[in-house]
Amino acid sequence: MTKELWEGNRAIAEAALRAGVEAYFGYPITPQTELLEYLSGKMPGMGRAFVQAESELAAINMVYGAACAGVRTMSSSSSPGISLMQEGLSYIAGSEVPVVLVDIMRGGPGLGNIAPSQSDYFQLTKGGGHGDYKPIVLAPASVQEAVDLTYGAFDLAEKYRHIVIVAADGNIGQMMEPIELPPPRQVAKRDRGWELTGAQGRPRRVITSIYLVPEVLHKYNVHLQDIQREIEKNEVRYAEYLMDDVEYAVIAFGSAARAAQSAAKLARARGIRAGMFRPISLYPFPYDRVAEIAKRVRGILVVEMNAGQMIEDVRLAVQGRVPVEFFGMMGGMVPLPEDVLPEIEKLVRGK
Protein backbone atom coordinates (compact mmCIF):
# COMPACT_ATOMS: atom_id res chain seq x y z
CA MET A 1 0.00 0.00 0.00
CA THR A 2 1.33 3.44 -0.94
CA LYS A 3 1.83 5.88 1.86
CA GLU A 4 0.98 9.54 1.43
CA LEU A 5 2.32 12.58 3.21
CA TRP A 6 -0.50 14.26 5.15
CA GLU A 7 -0.73 17.04 7.70
CA GLY A 8 -2.35 15.84 10.95
CA ASN A 9 -5.43 18.06 10.97
CA ARG A 10 -6.32 17.30 7.35
CA ALA A 11 -5.61 13.60 7.85
CA ILE A 12 -7.94 13.47 10.86
CA ALA A 13 -10.63 15.23 8.82
CA GLU A 14 -10.24 12.77 5.94
CA ALA A 15 -10.34 9.84 8.40
CA ALA A 16 -13.62 11.18 9.81
CA LEU A 17 -15.09 11.46 6.30
CA ARG A 18 -14.05 7.90 5.58
CA ALA A 19 -15.59 6.75 8.86
CA GLY A 20 -18.86 8.17 7.56
CA VAL A 21 -19.28 11.40 9.54
CA GLU A 22 -22.58 12.88 8.34
CA ALA A 23 -22.66 16.20 10.20
CA TYR A 24 -19.82 18.47 11.39
CA PHE A 25 -20.12 21.67 13.38
CA GLY A 26 -17.09 23.74 14.40
CA TYR A 27 -15.48 27.09 14.97
CA PRO A 28 -12.03 28.32 13.89
CA ILE A 29 -9.24 28.07 16.45
CA THR A 30 -5.52 27.54 16.03
CA PRO A 31 -3.95 24.95 15.87
CA GLN A 32 -7.03 22.98 14.75
CA THR A 33 -8.42 25.20 11.98
CA GLU A 34 -7.23 23.14 8.97
CA LEU A 35 -9.56 20.37 10.10
CA LEU A 36 -12.58 22.70 9.86
CA GLU A 37 -11.33 24.15 6.56
CA TYR A 38 -10.83 20.74 5.01
CA LEU A 39 -14.33 19.55 5.91
CA SER A 40 -15.92 22.83 4.74
CA GLY A 41 -14.59 22.08 1.28
CA LYS A 42 -15.57 18.42 1.21
CA MET A 43 -18.84 17.87 3.05
CA PRO A 44 -21.40 20.01 1.17
CA GLY A 45 -20.50 18.32 -2.12
CA MET A 46 -20.96 14.92 -0.48
CA GLY A 47 -24.46 15.81 0.72
CA ARG A 48 -23.31 15.95 4.33
CA ALA A 49 -24.01 18.72 6.84
CA PHE A 50 -21.31 21.30 7.60
CA VAL A 51 -21.97 24.43 9.65
CA GLN A 52 -19.41 26.97 10.86
CA ALA A 53 -21.04 27.89 14.15
CA GLU A 54 -21.04 31.26 15.92
CA SER A 55 -19.07 29.80 18.85
CA GLU A 56 -17.82 26.52 20.24
CA LEU A 57 -20.80 26.66 22.58
CA ALA A 58 -23.17 26.67 19.63
CA ALA A 59 -21.06 24.11 17.74
CA ILE A 60 -21.25 21.49 20.48
CA ASN A 61 -24.99 22.07 20.88
CA MET A 62 -25.46 21.59 17.13
CA VAL A 63 -23.51 18.34 17.49
CA TYR A 64 -25.83 17.46 20.39
CA GLY A 65 -28.86 18.03 18.14
CA ALA A 66 -27.40 16.03 15.26
CA ALA A 67 -26.53 13.18 17.63
CA CYS A 68 -30.12 13.17 18.91
CA ALA A 69 -31.22 12.90 15.25
CA GLY A 70 -29.14 9.71 15.05
CA VAL A 71 -26.46 10.73 12.54
CA ARG A 72 -22.68 10.32 12.88
CA THR A 73 -21.55 13.71 14.08
CA MET A 74 -18.46 15.45 15.39
CA SER A 75 -16.75 18.69 16.22
CA SER A 76 -13.15 19.71 16.67
CA SER A 77 -11.45 22.48 18.56
CA SER A 78 -8.46 23.41 20.66
CA SER A 79 -8.11 23.92 24.40
CA PRO A 80 -9.94 27.26 25.02
CA GLY A 81 -12.69 26.09 22.67
CA ILE A 82 -12.94 22.80 24.53
CA SER A 83 -13.39 24.76 27.78
CA LEU A 84 -16.36 26.48 26.15
CA MET A 85 -17.81 23.15 25.01
CA GLN A 86 -17.90 21.63 28.47
CA GLU A 87 -21.52 22.66 29.02
CA GLY A 88 -22.68 20.80 25.93
CA LEU A 89 -20.51 17.78 26.71
CA SER A 90 -22.16 17.42 30.12
CA TYR A 91 -25.62 17.47 28.49
CA ILE A 92 -24.50 14.97 25.84
CA ALA A 93 -23.17 12.64 28.55
CA GLY A 94 -26.41 13.10 30.51
CA SER A 95 -28.49 12.24 27.43
CA GLU A 96 -26.48 9.22 26.24
CA VAL A 97 -25.99 10.23 22.63
CA PRO A 98 -22.83 9.28 20.68
CA VAL A 99 -20.49 12.14 19.79
CA VAL A 100 -16.90 12.38 18.55
CA LEU A 101 -14.72 15.37 19.41
CA VAL A 102 -11.15 16.16 18.38
CA ASP A 103 -9.01 18.36 20.63
CA ILE A 104 -5.76 19.69 19.14
CA MET A 105 -4.31 20.93 22.43
CA ARG A 106 -2.48 24.26 22.85
CA GLY A 107 -0.86 26.12 25.72
CA GLY A 108 -2.87 27.67 28.56
CA PRO A 109 -4.25 28.85 30.90
CA GLY A 110 -6.32 31.67 29.40
CA LEU A 111 -5.43 32.56 25.86
CA GLY A 112 -2.03 30.98 26.52
CA ASN A 113 -0.64 30.50 23.05
CA ILE A 114 -1.08 28.43 19.93
CA ALA A 115 1.91 26.15 20.48
CA PRO A 116 1.60 22.41 21.26
CA SER A 117 0.65 21.42 24.79
CA GLN A 118 -0.97 18.61 26.76
CA SER A 119 -2.60 20.79 29.35
CA ASP A 120 -6.16 19.55 28.68
CA TYR A 121 -5.54 16.18 30.37
CA PHE A 122 -7.55 17.17 33.46
CA GLN A 123 -10.49 18.79 31.62
CA LEU A 124 -10.76 15.87 29.20
CA THR A 125 -10.25 12.84 31.43
CA LYS A 126 -11.85 13.94 34.69
CA GLY A 127 -15.24 14.92 33.31
CA GLY A 128 -14.76 18.54 32.39
CA GLY A 129 -18.34 19.68 32.75
CA HIS A 130 -20.71 19.35 35.72
CA GLY A 131 -21.95 15.99 36.90
CA ASP A 132 -20.44 12.52 37.01
CA TYR A 133 -19.20 11.33 33.63
CA LYS A 134 -15.89 10.70 31.92
CA PRO A 135 -15.56 10.75 28.14
CA ILE A 136 -13.42 8.11 26.43
CA VAL A 137 -10.15 9.93 25.68
CA LEU A 138 -7.68 8.57 23.12
CA ALA A 139 -4.26 10.16 22.64
CA PRO A 140 -2.39 9.56 19.37
CA ALA A 141 1.40 9.88 19.17
CA SER A 142 1.59 10.08 15.37
CA VAL A 143 -0.49 11.24 12.44
CA GLN A 144 -1.17 7.60 11.49
CA GLU A 145 -2.43 6.84 14.97
CA ALA A 146 -4.60 9.98 14.92
CA VAL A 147 -6.15 8.71 11.68
CA ASP A 148 -6.75 5.22 13.08
CA LEU A 149 -8.22 6.45 16.38
CA THR A 150 -10.52 8.94 14.62
CA TYR A 151 -11.67 6.27 12.16
CA GLY A 152 -12.60 3.94 15.02
CA ALA A 153 -14.00 6.66 17.31
CA PHE A 154 -17.52 6.69 15.82
CA ASP A 155 -18.09 2.97 16.35
CA LEU A 156 -16.79 3.32 19.89
CA ALA A 157 -19.04 6.31 20.60
CA GLU A 158 -22.06 4.41 19.25
CA LYS A 159 -21.19 1.25 21.17
CA TYR A 160 -21.44 3.05 24.52
CA ARG A 161 -23.66 6.01 23.42
CA HIS A 162 -20.97 8.20 24.89
CA ILE A 163 -18.42 10.89 24.01
CA VAL A 164 -15.13 9.86 22.42
CA ILE A 165 -12.43 12.52 22.38
CA VAL A 166 -9.34 12.20 20.21
CA ALA A 167 -6.85 14.22 22.24
CA ALA A 168 -3.91 15.22 20.09
CA ASP A 169 -1.47 18.00 20.88
CA GLY A 170 -0.61 20.74 18.42
CA ASN A 171 2.37 18.75 17.15
CA ILE A 172 0.14 15.98 15.84
CA GLY A 173 -2.30 18.44 14.30
CA GLN A 174 0.31 20.49 12.50
CA MET A 175 3.06 18.10 11.43
CA MET A 176 3.17 16.06 8.23
CA GLU A 177 3.87 12.35 8.27
CA PRO A 178 3.49 9.47 5.83
CA ILE A 179 0.21 7.67 6.43
CA GLU A 180 -2.04 5.04 5.01
CA LEU A 181 -5.72 6.03 4.92
CA PRO A 182 -8.47 3.54 5.71
CA PRO A 183 -11.16 2.76 3.11
CA PRO A 184 -14.34 4.91 2.98
CA ARG A 185 -17.31 3.41 4.78
CA GLN A 186 -21.01 3.86 4.19
CA VAL A 187 -23.06 4.05 7.35
CA ALA A 188 -26.33 2.19 6.90
CA LYS A 189 -29.50 4.03 7.97
CA ARG A 190 -30.74 2.36 11.09
CA ASP A 191 -33.14 2.84 13.96
CA ARG A 192 -31.57 1.88 17.24
CA GLY A 193 -34.62 2.66 19.29
CA TRP A 194 -33.65 6.04 20.70
CA GLU A 195 -33.00 8.57 17.94
CA LEU A 196 -35.43 11.41 17.22
CA THR A 197 -36.71 11.09 13.67
CA GLY A 198 -40.40 11.95 14.08
CA ALA A 199 -42.84 9.62 15.80
CA GLN A 200 -43.96 7.83 12.64
CA GLY A 201 -45.73 4.59 13.50
CA ARG A 202 -44.20 4.49 16.96
CA PRO A 203 -44.64 6.21 20.33
CA ARG A 204 -42.89 9.58 20.67
CA ARG A 205 -39.37 9.65 22.03
CA VAL A 206 -37.81 12.25 24.32
CA ILE A 207 -34.09 12.81 24.80
CA THR A 208 -33.47 14.72 27.99
CA SER A 209 -31.07 14.91 30.90
CA ILE A 210 -33.51 16.20 33.52
CA TYR A 211 -34.76 13.93 36.32
CA LEU A 212 -36.31 16.00 39.10
CA VAL A 213 -36.90 13.18 41.59
CA PRO A 214 -33.66 12.50 43.53
CA GLU A 215 -34.25 8.72 43.65
CA VAL A 216 -34.75 8.65 39.88
CA LEU A 217 -31.65 10.75 39.15
CA HIS A 218 -29.65 8.59 41.54
CA LYS A 219 -30.76 5.47 39.68
CA TYR A 220 -30.00 7.07 36.30
CA ASN A 221 -26.52 7.98 37.52
CA VAL A 222 -25.96 4.41 38.69
CA HIS A 223 -26.86 3.30 35.16
CA LEU A 224 -24.39 5.81 33.67
CA GLN A 225 -21.70 4.62 36.05
CA ASP A 226 -22.34 1.00 35.03
CA ILE A 227 -21.49 2.05 31.47
CA GLN A 228 -18.31 3.78 32.70
CA ARG A 229 -17.29 0.51 34.41
CA GLU A 230 -17.90 -1.38 31.13
CA ILE A 231 -15.70 1.13 29.31
CA GLU A 232 -13.01 0.76 31.97
CA LYS A 233 -13.14 -3.03 31.56
CA ASN A 234 -13.06 -3.11 27.75
CA GLU A 235 -11.33 -0.06 26.34
CA VAL A 236 -7.93 0.26 28.00
CA ARG A 237 -5.23 0.79 25.38
CA TYR A 238 -1.50 1.36 25.70
CA ALA A 239 1.82 0.83 23.92
CA GLU A 240 5.13 -0.35 25.37
CA TYR A 241 8.74 0.02 24.23
CA LEU A 242 11.70 -1.90 25.71
CA MET A 243 9.60 -2.80 28.74
CA ASP A 244 10.44 -6.56 29.05
CA ASP A 245 13.44 -6.22 31.37
CA VAL A 246 12.81 -2.64 32.41
CA GLU A 247 14.22 -1.14 35.62
CA TYR A 248 13.34 2.49 34.97
CA ALA A 249 10.09 3.23 33.17
CA VAL A 250 9.29 6.51 31.41
CA ILE A 251 5.56 7.10 31.13
CA ALA A 252 4.28 9.63 28.61
CA PHE A 253 1.40 10.12 26.16
CA GLY A 254 0.98 11.78 22.77
CA SER A 255 3.95 13.49 21.19
CA ALA A 256 5.79 13.70 24.54
CA ALA A 257 6.02 9.91 24.33
CA ARG A 258 8.10 10.20 21.18
CA ALA A 259 10.78 12.06 23.12
CA ALA A 260 10.38 9.60 26.00
CA GLN A 261 10.85 6.64 23.68
CA SER A 262 14.01 8.05 22.12
CA ALA A 263 15.33 8.95 25.59
CA ALA A 264 14.77 5.37 26.77
CA LYS A 265 16.81 4.15 23.81
CA LEU A 266 19.59 6.66 24.59
CA ALA A 267 19.58 5.50 28.23
CA ARG A 268 19.96 1.88 27.10
CA ALA A 269 23.13 2.91 25.22
CA ARG A 270 24.40 4.17 28.57
CA GLY A 271 23.69 0.88 30.29
CA ILE A 272 20.41 1.92 31.94
CA ARG A 273 17.61 -0.60 31.49
CA ALA A 274 15.02 1.99 30.58
CA GLY A 275 11.73 1.52 28.77
CA MET A 276 8.73 3.58 27.73
CA PHE A 277 5.08 3.04 28.59
CA ARG A 278 2.51 5.07 26.66
CA PRO A 279 -1.17 5.18 27.64
CA ILE A 280 -3.26 5.52 24.47
CA SER A 281 -6.56 5.58 26.35
CA LEU A 282 -6.16 8.41 28.87
CA TYR A 283 -9.62 7.48 30.06
CA PRO A 284 -9.92 4.65 30.79
CA PHE A 285 -6.41 5.01 32.22
CA PRO A 286 -4.37 1.78 32.26
CA TYR A 287 -4.18 1.67 36.08
CA ASP A 288 -3.74 -2.12 36.27
CA ARG A 289 -0.87 -2.20 33.79
CA VAL A 290 0.94 0.68 35.51
CA ALA A 291 0.46 -1.10 38.86
CA GLU A 292 2.09 -4.23 37.40
CA ILE A 293 4.96 -2.15 36.05
CA ALA A 294 5.43 -0.53 39.47
CA LYS A 295 6.05 -4.01 40.92
CA ARG A 296 9.05 -4.66 38.68
CA VAL A 297 10.82 -1.29 38.31
CA ARG A 298 13.03 0.79 40.59
CA GLY A 299 11.56 4.10 39.53
CA ILE A 300 9.20 5.86 37.17
CA LEU A 301 9.63 9.14 35.29
CA VAL A 302 6.51 10.83 33.94
CA VAL A 303 7.06 13.21 31.03
CA GLU A 304 4.31 15.61 29.99
CA MET A 305 3.89 18.87 28.13
CA ASN A 306 2.14 20.42 31.12
CA ALA A 307 2.78 21.01 34.84
CA GLY A 308 2.02 17.39 35.76
CA GLN A 309 -1.50 16.14 35.14
CA MET A 310 -1.35 12.48 34.08
CA ILE A 311 1.19 11.95 36.87
CA GLU A 312 -1.71 11.99 39.34
CA ASP A 313 -3.16 8.88 37.68
CA VAL A 314 0.26 7.24 37.54
CA ARG A 315 0.68 7.84 41.29
CA LEU A 316 -2.80 6.43 41.97
CA ALA A 317 -1.74 3.26 40.15
CA VAL A 318 1.74 3.05 41.73
CA GLN A 319 0.42 3.60 45.27
CA GLY A 320 3.83 4.65 46.59
CA ARG A 321 5.63 1.41 45.71
CA VAL A 322 8.44 3.19 43.83
CA PRO A 323 9.51 6.80 43.34
CA VAL A 324 7.54 8.65 40.65
CA GLU A 325 9.37 11.69 39.33
CA PHE A 326 8.20 14.31 36.88
CA PHE A 327 9.64 16.20 33.97
CA GLY A 328 7.40 18.69 32.22
CA MET A 329 7.64 21.56 29.79
CA MET A 330 4.91 24.14 29.39
CA GLY A 331 3.92 27.05 27.21
CA GLY A 332 4.38 25.16 23.98
CA MET A 333 7.90 23.95 24.77
CA VAL A 334 8.39 20.45 23.35
CA PRO A 335 10.81 18.16 25.20
CA LEU A 336 13.60 16.58 23.17
CA PRO A 337 15.17 13.20 23.97
CA GLU A 338 18.24 15.10 25.18
CA ASP A 339 16.04 16.91 27.72
CA VAL A 340 14.55 13.66 29.03
CA LEU A 341 17.77 11.60 29.23
CA PRO A 342 19.30 13.56 32.17
CA GLU A 343 15.99 13.15 34.03
CA ILE A 344 16.23 9.35 33.63
CA GLU A 345 19.81 9.52 34.89
CA LYS A 346 18.68 11.56 37.91
CA LEU A 347 16.05 8.91 38.65
CA VAL A 348 18.75 6.21 38.51
CA ARG A 349 20.97 8.18 40.89
CA GLY A 350 18.02 8.54 43.21
CA LYS A 351 17.90 12.33 43.28
Binding site: A23, A49, A58, M62, A66, S95, T197, G198, S209
Partner: protein, 257 residues
Protein backbone atom coordinates in the same frame (compact mmCIF):
# COMPACT_ATOMS: atom_id res chain seq x y z
CA UNK B 1 -74.03 11.67 19.16
CA UNK B 2 -72.96 13.63 16.09
CA UNK B 3 -75.40 13.58 13.15
CA UNK B 4 -75.41 15.30 9.75
CA UNK B 5 -76.81 18.48 11.26
CA UNK B 6 -73.97 18.91 13.72
CA UNK B 7 -70.30 19.60 13.28
CA UNK B 8 -67.35 19.56 15.65
CA UNK B 9 -66.08 23.07 16.15
CA UNK B 10 -63.91 22.48 19.19
CA UNK B 11 -62.17 19.32 20.35
CA UNK B 12 -59.16 18.09 22.24
CA UNK B 13 -56.20 18.11 19.82
CA UNK B 14 -54.78 14.66 18.95
CA UNK B 15 -51.23 15.95 19.41
CA UNK B 16 -52.04 17.19 22.94
CA UNK B 17 -51.45 14.56 25.61
CA UNK B 18 -54.04 14.04 28.32
CA UNK B 19 -52.02 14.76 31.44
CA UNK B 20 -52.35 17.13 34.38
CA UNK B 21 -50.61 20.44 33.74
CA UNK B 22 -47.75 21.51 36.01
CA UNK B 23 -48.24 25.19 35.17
CA UNK B 24 -49.50 27.66 37.76
CA UNK B 25 -53.18 28.72 37.64
CA UNK B 26 -53.61 31.61 35.20
CA UNK B 27 -50.38 30.94 33.32
CA UNK B 28 -50.85 31.09 29.54
CA UNK B 29 -48.13 28.59 28.59
CA UNK B 30 -50.90 25.97 28.42
CA UNK B 31 -52.87 28.05 25.90
CA UNK B 32 -49.80 28.42 23.69
CA UNK B 33 -49.00 24.68 23.96
CA UNK B 34 -52.54 23.94 22.83
CA UNK B 35 -52.25 26.26 19.83
CA UNK B 36 -49.12 24.39 18.73
CA UNK B 37 -50.93 21.05 19.14
CA UNK B 38 -53.86 22.30 17.04
CA UNK B 39 -51.43 23.52 14.37
CA UNK B 40 -49.60 20.19 14.27
CA UNK B 41 -52.94 18.39 13.90
CA UNK B 42 -54.23 20.68 11.19
CA UNK B 43 -51.03 20.46 9.16
CA UNK B 44 -50.84 16.67 9.67
CA UNK B 45 -47.19 16.83 10.73
CA UNK B 46 -47.24 15.04 14.11
CA UNK B 47 -45.21 12.10 12.82
CA UNK B 48 -42.47 14.23 11.31
CA UNK B 49 -42.15 16.95 13.92
CA UNK B 50 -39.25 17.19 16.38
CA UNK B 51 -39.54 19.79 19.12
CA UNK B 52 -36.69 21.31 21.11
CA UNK B 53 -37.59 22.18 24.69
CA UNK B 54 -35.91 25.02 26.60
CA UNK B 55 -34.78 25.51 30.17
CA UNK B 56 -37.39 27.48 32.06
CA UNK B 57 -41.01 26.86 33.09
CA UNK B 58 -41.67 25.08 29.79
CA UNK B 59 -38.80 22.63 30.29
CA UNK B 60 -41.41 19.86 30.39
CA UNK B 61 -43.32 20.89 27.24
CA UNK B 62 -42.59 17.38 25.94
CA UNK B 63 -45.03 16.01 28.49
CA UNK B 64 -47.85 17.84 26.70
CA UNK B 65 -47.09 17.49 22.98
CA UNK B 66 -47.19 14.03 21.43
CA UNK B 67 -44.16 14.45 19.15
CA UNK B 68 -40.48 13.56 19.41
CA UNK B 69 -38.61 16.03 21.62
CA UNK B 70 -35.08 16.96 22.62
CA UNK B 71 -34.31 18.91 25.76
CA UNK B 72 -31.76 21.68 25.16
CA UNK B 73 -29.32 23.37 27.51
CA UNK B 74 -30.40 26.86 28.59
CA UNK B 75 -30.50 29.12 25.54
CA UNK B 76 -29.04 26.59 23.13
CA UNK B 77 -32.29 25.37 21.57
CA UNK B 78 -31.66 27.17 18.23
CA UNK B 79 -28.21 25.51 17.97
CA UNK B 80 -29.67 22.12 18.82
CA UNK B 81 -32.51 22.65 16.35
CA UNK B 82 -29.89 23.56 13.72
CA UNK B 83 -28.13 20.25 14.34
CA UNK B 84 -31.38 18.29 14.04
CA UNK B 85 -32.69 20.15 10.98
CA UNK B 86 -29.38 19.93 9.09
CA UNK B 87 -29.30 16.20 9.80
CA UNK B 88 -32.96 15.59 8.89
CA UNK B 89 -33.97 18.39 6.48
CA UNK B 90 -37.36 16.85 5.67
CA UNK B 91 -38.57 16.89 9.29
CA UNK B 92 -40.32 19.81 10.96
CA UNK B 93 -38.17 21.23 13.75
CA UNK B 94 -39.31 23.89 16.20
CA UNK B 95 -38.04 25.41 19.42
CA UNK B 96 -40.18 26.71 22.28
CA UNK B 97 -38.29 29.28 24.32
CA UNK B 98 -38.89 31.76 27.10
CA UNK B 99 -37.46 35.25 27.38
CA UNK B 100 -34.50 34.40 29.62
CA UNK B 101 -33.68 31.47 27.36
CA UNK B 102 -33.97 33.27 24.02
CA UNK B 103 -33.18 36.90 24.81
CA UNK B 104 -30.48 36.60 27.51
CA UNK B 105 -28.41 33.43 27.75
CA UNK B 106 -29.22 32.31 24.21
CA UNK B 107 -29.08 35.60 22.33
CA UNK B 108 -26.09 34.56 20.22
CA UNK B 109 -27.74 31.26 19.27
CA UNK B 110 -31.06 32.82 18.21
CA UNK B 111 -29.46 35.69 16.30
CA UNK B 112 -27.13 33.39 14.35
CA UNK B 113 -29.77 30.76 13.65
CA UNK B 114 -31.82 33.62 12.21
CA UNK B 115 -28.82 35.01 10.31
CA UNK B 116 -28.22 31.62 8.72
CA UNK B 117 -31.86 31.51 7.75
CA UNK B 118 -32.20 28.12 9.40
CA UNK B 119 -35.42 26.54 8.20
CA UNK B 120 -36.81 26.16 11.71
CA UNK B 121 -39.76 27.63 13.61
CA UNK B 122 -39.37 29.42 16.94
CA UNK B 123 -42.18 29.99 19.42
CA UNK B 124 -40.91 32.68 21.78
CA UNK B 125 -42.90 33.17 24.98
CA UNK B 126 -42.31 36.57 26.53
CA UNK B 127 -43.69 37.03 30.05
CA UNK B 128 -41.15 39.65 31.13
CA UNK B 129 -39.81 37.58 34.03
CA UNK B 130 -37.84 34.46 35.01
CA UNK B 131 -40.64 32.15 36.08
CA UNK B 132 -38.87 28.89 36.95
CA UNK B 133 -36.38 30.53 39.29
CA UNK B 134 -39.31 32.49 40.77
CA UNK B 135 -39.39 36.04 39.62
CA UNK B 136 -36.03 37.57 38.70
CA UNK B 137 -35.54 40.40 36.21
CA UNK B 138 -35.64 39.15 32.63
CA UNK B 139 -34.17 40.69 29.46
CA UNK B 140 -37.77 41.71 28.68
CA UNK B 141 -38.75 43.04 32.13
CA UNK B 142 -40.44 46.40 31.62
CA UNK B 143 -38.81 49.64 32.84
CA UNK B 144 -39.91 50.23 36.43
CA UNK B 145 -41.21 46.69 36.87
CA UNK B 146 -40.54 45.15 40.29
CA UNK B 147 -38.86 41.73 40.37
CA UNK B 148 -36.80 39.90 43.00
CA UNK B 149 -33.59 41.27 41.43
CA UNK B 150 -35.02 44.71 40.67
CA UNK B 151 -36.82 45.21 44.00
CA UNK B 152 -37.12 48.94 43.44
CA UNK B 153 -38.29 48.54 39.89
CA UNK B 154 -36.11 48.07 36.80
CA UNK B 155 -33.89 51.13 36.63
CA UNK B 156 -32.85 51.46 33.00
CA UNK B 157 -29.87 53.61 34.00
CA UNK B 158 -28.43 50.66 35.93
CA UNK B 159 -30.13 47.64 34.40
CA UNK B 160 -30.59 48.59 30.78
CA UNK B 161 -33.57 48.30 28.49
CA UNK B 162 -35.80 45.37 27.57
CA UNK B 163 -35.00 43.65 24.28
CA UNK B 164 -37.55 43.75 21.48
CA UNK B 165 -36.77 40.46 19.78
CA UNK B 166 -39.47 40.33 17.09
CA UNK B 167 -38.29 43.74 15.82
CA UNK B 168 -34.59 42.86 16.16
CA UNK B 169 -34.85 39.57 14.26
CA UNK B 170 -37.03 41.12 11.56
CA UNK B 171 -33.99 43.07 10.37
CA UNK B 172 -32.19 39.93 9.21
CA UNK B 173 -32.33 38.72 5.61
CA UNK B 174 -32.52 35.06 6.70
CA UNK B 175 -35.79 35.68 8.55
CA UNK B 176 -38.99 35.23 6.53
CA UNK B 177 -41.57 35.64 9.26
CA UNK B 178 -41.29 37.60 12.50
CA UNK B 179 -44.42 38.68 14.33
CA UNK B 180 -45.61 39.47 17.86
CA UNK B 181 -48.91 38.27 19.24
CA UNK B 182 -50.60 37.97 22.64
CA UNK B 183 -52.93 35.47 24.32
CA UNK B 184 -54.64 37.78 26.82
CA UNK B 185 -58.13 37.42 25.25
CA UNK B 186 -59.94 35.10 22.80
CA UNK B 187 -59.50 37.37 19.77
CA UNK B 188 -55.78 37.56 20.34
CA UNK B 189 -55.58 33.82 20.99
CA UNK B 190 -57.12 33.26 17.55
CA UNK B 191 -54.64 35.66 15.95
CA UNK B 192 -51.77 33.89 17.74
CA UNK B 193 -53.01 30.54 16.45
CA UNK B 194 -53.00 31.84 12.90
CA UNK B 195 -49.46 33.19 13.32
CA UNK B 196 -48.18 29.89 14.72
CA UNK B 197 -49.72 28.05 11.78
CA UNK B 198 -48.14 30.55 9.39
CA UNK B 199 -44.74 30.03 10.99
CA UNK B 200 -44.93 26.26 10.55
CA UNK B 201 -46.09 26.72 6.97
CA UNK B 202 -43.03 28.87 6.28
CA UNK B 203 -40.90 25.93 7.31
CA UNK B 204 -42.95 23.40 5.33
CA UNK B 205 -42.37 25.60 2.26
CA UNK B 206 -38.58 25.60 2.91
CA UNK B 207 -38.84 29.38 3.18
CA UNK B 208 -36.39 30.07 6.01
CA UNK B 209 -36.52 31.17 9.61
CA UNK B 210 -39.87 31.92 11.27
CA UNK B 211 -40.57 33.25 14.77
CA UNK B 212 -43.74 34.08 16.68
CA UNK B 213 -43.20 36.12 19.84
CA UNK B 214 -46.15 35.58 22.18
CA UNK B 215 -46.81 37.89 25.14
CA UNK B 216 -47.75 35.67 28.07
CA UNK B 217 -48.84 36.15 31.68
CA UNK B 218 -47.15 35.09 34.90
CA UNK B 219 -49.57 35.80 37.78
CA UNK B 220 -47.46 33.90 40.31
CA UNK B 221 -44.28 35.92 39.85
CA UNK B 222 -46.00 39.17 39.02
CA UNK B 223 -47.85 38.77 42.34
CA UNK B 224 -51.28 39.44 40.83
CA UNK B 225 -54.45 37.45 40.16
CA UNK B 226 -54.83 35.65 36.82
CA UNK B 227 -57.39 38.25 35.66
CA UNK B 228 -55.12 41.13 36.69
CA UNK B 229 -52.23 39.44 34.89
CA UNK B 230 -54.13 39.41 31.59
CA UNK B 231 -54.95 43.08 32.17
CA UNK B 232 -51.25 43.76 32.76
CA UNK B 233 -50.38 42.16 29.42
CA UNK B 234 -52.93 44.35 27.66
CA UNK B 235 -52.25 47.62 29.43
CA UNK B 236 -48.55 47.45 30.35
CA UNK B 237 -46.80 44.98 28.07
CA UNK B 238 -48.41 45.70 24.72
CA UNK B 239 -47.52 49.44 24.80
CA UNK B 240 -43.84 48.50 25.14
CA UNK B 241 -44.04 45.38 22.96
CA UNK B 242 -46.54 46.35 20.24
CA UNK B 243 -48.33 43.50 18.52
CA UNK B 244 -47.83 43.27 14.79
CA UNK B 245 -46.15 41.74 11.76
CA UNK B 246 -42.54 42.88 11.78
CA UNK B 247 -41.56 40.83 8.79
CA UNK B 248 -43.58 38.89 6.29
CA UNK B 249 -41.18 38.29 3.41
CA UNK B 250 -42.52 38.67 -0.11
CA UNK B 251 -41.55 35.05 -0.76
CA UNK B 252 -44.08 33.74 1.77
CA UNK B 253 -47.01 36.07 1.11
CA UNK B 254 -48.72 33.58 -1.20
CA UNK B 255 -49.29 31.04 1.57
CA UNK B 256 -49.47 32.91 4.91
CA UNK B 257 -52.85 34.10 6.08
Amino acid sequence: MINEHMQVVFDYPDSFTEVVSHYCPGCTHGVIHRLIAETIDELGIREKTIGVAPVGCSVFIYNYLDTDFAEAAHGRAPAMATGIKRSLPDRVVFTYQGDGDLAAIGTAEIVHAAARGENITVIFVNNAIYGMTSGQMAPTTLPGMVTTTSPNGRDVELQGFPLKMAELLSQMPGVSYSVRRSVHDPGNINRTKKAIKNAFQVQLNQAGFSIVEVLSSCPTNWNVTPAAALKFVKEQMIPYFPLGDYKVADSIKSFVG
